[in-house]
């Protein structure tokens, strides 16, 4: 096994390619956020963008070797869930906390 910290070339390349691909997917999802015909379409697309950003944070932690970004990914996932639930409540009942 190689020494700690010295990763092979193809892992660095794979992480970088993954970052590029997932960022492009974020931009593609933004099309549906802007042009979705109804409000639930836009919320679903925002949810997909948040999930992609969570993946980007984990890939960034893999690239830099800093494990703090995985905690950041967890926080982003929690924020995305709260966003989805609160928008769903607001759309149906016109009120989040009664």
């Amino acid at each position: 096994m190689a020494a700690e910290g010295a990763e092979p070339e193809f892992v660095v390349l794979a992480v970088r390619a993954g970052l590029v691909v997932v960022s492009a997917l974020c931009i593609l999802c933004a099309y549906r956020v802007i042009a979705g015909p109804t409000v639930p379409d836009q919320v679903v697309a925002i949810d997909a963008v948040v999930t992609n950003v969570v993946a980007i944070a984990v890939l960034f932690a893999l690239q830099t070797g800093r494990s703090l970004f995985i905690t950041g990914a967890l926080v982003l996932a929690i924020i995305g869930f709260i966003t989805t639930v609160s928008v769903a409540k607001f759309v149906t009942e016109g009120d989040i906390i009664e």
């Binding site: 794979a14 593609l28 639930p40 494990s67 703090l68 989805t84 409540k89």
Partner: protein, 110 residues
């Protein structure tokens, strides 16, 4: 070496599933179909990338946080998708042809 290969394979699988989910989000005809496309494959893809983080950082510290992230995603994404589907149905977003919603009056009967 095995660790590096495993990380590469998991990143490839995650990117594949995320791409499938985004194509479904862009191409499917209806809110309900798009929700199906984003919730399942996107969850699988992000879980695969989290697993790559677990393989990279080991079972303590950040690797444990990765496993907690997988558990959290598998709990919350279906819940959010269900709530948005219910909201869309109550808003009056139409279904596709041939799809029906179970009538509450029928359920009271039996």
């Amino acid at each position: 070496m095995l660790q590096s290969v495993l990380i590469t394979v998991l990143i490839a699988v995650g990117c594949f599933f995320l791409t499938v989910g985004t194509i479904g989000l862009l191409r499917f005809p209806n809110v309900y179909n798009r929700m199906h496309a984003t919730s399942k494959p996107t969850t699988l893809g992000t879980a695969a990338i989290f697993l790559a983080g677990f393989v990279r950082f080991g079972p303590g510290g950040a690797g444990l946080a990765s496993l907690i992230g997988i558990l959290f995603l598998f709990l919350t994404v279906p819940t959010g998708a269900h709530m948005i589907a219910l909201a869309a149905q109550r808003m009056g977003v139409p279904f596709m042809e041939g799809v029906t919603w179970p009538d509450p009056a029928d359920e009271d009967g039996d």
